[in-house]
């Protein structure tokens, strides 16, 4: 009995110690992982929120600038600017307009087409 006790005291039981350590690490790691994951979810959520805000702002800015371009291009604005800058611009008179007439396409002979002839089979619809 005494011998056994002596032997037991002398022997280092790594297995249970490792198991215990592993279990502790697992539980601790899981807990830390869970907390980290939660904080990541929160952090990414805030990032999503910021990006959503940024997207909305950019879309609004895009709309505003688009409207500004449209206003600057509007005939009323162009007319006003032309008058302000005293450019002497006037509408073109009919005689000043050169009209380009497109020639009527000439139909060529049927035989001169360069398309490959398709074989006529019974399956052809």
């Amino acid at each position: 009995m005494a011998k056994n006790r002596k032997n037991q005291a002398a022997a280092i039981r790594f297995g249970p110690a490792l198991k215990a350590s592993f279990l502790c690490l697992l539980i601790g790691g899981s807990a830390i992982g869970y907390v980290w994951q939660k904080s990541e979810i929160g952090r990414l959520g805030q990032q999503i929120l910021e990006r959503e805000k940024h997207l909305t702002q950019t879309q609004n800015e895009n709309k505003r600038l688009g409207d500004q371009i449209a206003i600057l291009h509007s005939p009323v604005m162009l007319d006003r600017r032309a008058k302000e800058l005293n450019l002497g611009l006037v509408p073109a008179q009919p005689l000043q307009v050169v009209r380009i007439m497109e020639a009527v396409p000439v139909l060529e002979k049927k035989g001169s087409r360069q398309f490959a002839q398709r074989l006529v089979t019974r399956l052809t619809p």
Binding site: D79, P94, L95, V98, I100
Partner: protein, 629 residues
């Protein structure tokens, strides 16, 4: 002995514990089962937040995509007076110039107040005021300046030496006391251009599930007529927030984006509209009428390119909107005068009652009929049908009307669309008056052909003329070309619609030949003639009736015409109400017509009539060899 006592004590303790656990169990059952609905709703109310998102109202665009009306996102500046505390004067001093408000009034708004309200049991409950509105429709840039100003605000105290509570008070005052809510504002970049067609809106607050949401609602014009299409669908988000009221995205439950309203693309061309408005403004200055209207449309499709009525208003400035600035093109009716002769003459030509060269005795300006004397402005003897149009003879038109017959005249007038709405998609259109034959007096058959005894809108008479320009086919007025989503995708396209053929091709060619004589040297509107285009048209000068009596010196003058006469591209109407300098339609409205027509022809690149072109450059012919088939 000891054991017994110990056992007794243990049993007592056990019983006590059981009782406690039973009590706890009962309490849990009460909370989790019996009051589950109530408490879960309360818990949700405490944690969940609903955010409502107003949709952006659709734009109104012209035919070329130019913006006529758009919605701009702005801010509504609000405050929580309970966070301002005794610093309302300081906050008001810095905010008043930014928000362009009176400093004293602003300080009053920012001062904390307690309101007393009765709760559901009728007991008075005191509540600290936590929400006041300071300014509406504030641009984003101004809001950013407000934020910067509040962040850098100092109150003349060394905050490092303050207690934690006082430090929190100043922090909250800077960060949370002033806040902004999203809002939108309707903007009309071109000001008064086509204002009566576009209309104007009002901002209304609607209560959606207890949330106040400001919405823009149309009040007139396209804004009202297409309100449903322009209006979008409200979006919402059900989510949870942390203590600092920041949203916890991971706990977002419902997220439905607002659907923006559709953009309405009109047939109006803002360049043509501008041309018309400038010409009308010049004429308004020159002839000082009570009002002047102008319309430009394509007779082949019924598309309205411009519609203007002066005086008009700027929808950006609601205080300029008065009853005088209404859209008279569709709301006002008037006796058309000689322009109505196109109805009787074209009808008579179509029915074969008269021919273009048939002759009528115009009685040298005096014709007694049914106890009344009809007059012409010039003494005319024998006139052919086309000359009746050329000289605008009332007696000649009356005689043609008598020949056509009452029912025939009524039928043609009805088929041209008089006495009923044209169907233009604008609110407030008048029907005009075209009485049924049984209500006619004996003289009606002679008066109606010269444009008396009927009341028409400016749009009706224009579309009657346009029917003549379009081979006798009456078209439905087209003002909306299509509906499109914000990305430009077409949701709905509106196509030209034929209403009916009023007169046949032969009669149409004849009446056009007659109308071509009006803007000539011998006609009533030589000033309406264009340099490079053949014009067909008709003048009108109608004495105004007030209280059933014709008033001397008050006229409605008009000219309605189209060009090129043989292949009409545009039909234009100019009508002046009570012009002061001159009153003959051909004299005062003819030049305005020509001015508009020439500028529009140049802008729209309408090919001139070859026979009128002097020094005509031969057209270039580009041969495209690659297109040979």
């Amino acid at each position: 002995m000891t054991n017994k006592q110990q056992i007794r004590r243990a049993l007592f303790l056990l019983a006590l514990l059981l009782l406690v656990f039973a009590g706890l169990g009962a309490w849990l059952v009460n909370l989790q089962v019996l009051r589950h609905e109530e408490l879960s709703a309360k818990a949700e109310q405490n944690t969940q937040r609903e955010f409502w998102q107003a949709p952006r109202r659709g734009d109104i665009l012209d035919a070329n995509g130019n913006v006529l009306a758009t919605s701009v996102l702005v801010k509504r500046i609000c405050a929580d007076p309970s966070l301002v505390g005794n610093q309302s004067a300081v906050a008001a001093r810095v905010l008043a110039p930014l928000l362009q408000l009176n400093e004293a009034e602003l300080a009053q708004k920012l001062t904390p107040r307690v309101t007393v309200k009765k709760n559901q049991y009728g007991r008075p409950v005191t509540n600290e005021l936590k929400y006041v509105r300071l300014a509406a429709r504030v641009p984003e840039e101004t809001w950013q300046r407000v934020v910067a100003t509040m962040t850098n605000l100092t109150f003349g105290v060394d905050e490092k030496h303050l207690t934690r509570t006082n430090r929190a008070f100043f922090r909250n005052l800077r960060q949370s006391a002033i806040f902004a809510e999203p809002d939108q504002m309707r903007v009309y970049p071109n000001g008064a251009l086509a204002s009566q067609v576009i209309g104007f809106p009002s901002v209304e607050e609607s209560n959606i599930s207890g949330h106040l949401l400001s919405q823009i609602t149309g009040r007139d014009g396209i804004e009202l007529a297409m309100d449903k299409q322009l209006d979008g669908v409200v979006g919402w988000r059900v989510t949870e927030t942390d203590r600092a009221q920041r949203e916890l995205v991971a706990l977002r439950d419902e997220d439905v984006h607002a659907r923006d309203g559709l953009s309405v693309v009109l047939t109006i061309d803002s360049a043509v509209q501008h041309i018309v408005e400038v010409a009308l403004a010049d004429a308004l200055q020159k002839h000082t009428p009570r009002s002047i209207t102008g319309i430009v449309m394509r007779p082949k499709t019924g598309e309205i390119l411009a519609m203007a009525s002066l005086p008009n208003y700027d929808p950006n400035q609601p205080n300029t909107i008065t009853p005088e600035t209404r859209n008279r093109v569709i709301t006002d009716v008037f006796e058309p005068g000689s322009t109505f002769k196109i109805v009787v003459v074209s009808g008579a030509l179509n029915s074969g009652t008269v021919k273009l060269n048939d002759e009528f005795n115009c009685e040298h300006g005096h014709f007694a009929f049914a106890g009344k004397i009809l007059h012409d402005h010039d003494s005319q003897g024998i006139l052919k049908t086309w000359e009746i149009i050329e000289h605008s003879s009332n007696i000649g038109a009356a005689k043609i009307g008598i020949k056509l017959g009452e029912q025939g005249l009524y039928d043609y007038a009805w088929n041209y669309g008089f006495g009923r709405k044209t169907g233009i998609p604008l609110p407030g259109e008048a029907r005009g008056f075209l009485y049924p034959v049984k209500q006619w007096s004996k003289v009606s058959i002679a008066q109606i052909p010269m444009g008396h005894g009927v009341a028409v809108t400016r749009l009706q008479i224009l579309f009657a003329m346009a029917a003549i320009a379009n081979h006798g086919w009456l078209m439905r007025p087209m003002l909306v070309s299509r509906l499109q989503a914000r990305d430009g995708g077409v949701v709905q396209r509106y196509l030209p619609e034929r209403v009916r053929q009023v007169i046949g091709e032969k009669a149409d060619v004849d009446i056009i030949e007659a109308l071509k004589t009006v803007p000539t040297k011998n006609g009533t509107a030589p000033d309406a003639a264009m340099k490079n285009y053949v014009v067909a048209g008709k003048t009108g000068t109608a004495q105004k009736a007030e209280g059933g009596v014709y008033v001397s010196g008050k006229f409605v003058s008009s000219f309605i015409g189209f060009f090129p006469a043989d292949n009409p591209e545009l039909c234009i109407s100019v009508v002046m109400d009570e012009p002061k300098e001159g009153y003959y339609g051909g004299k005062i409205c003819g030049p305005v017509f020509r001015d508009i027509a020439e500028r529009c022809a140049s802008y729209l690149n309408i090919p001139p009539d070859a026979k009128l072109m002097t020094n005509n450059p031969s057209a270039l012919i580009v041969e495209n060899a690659a297109r040979k088939l």
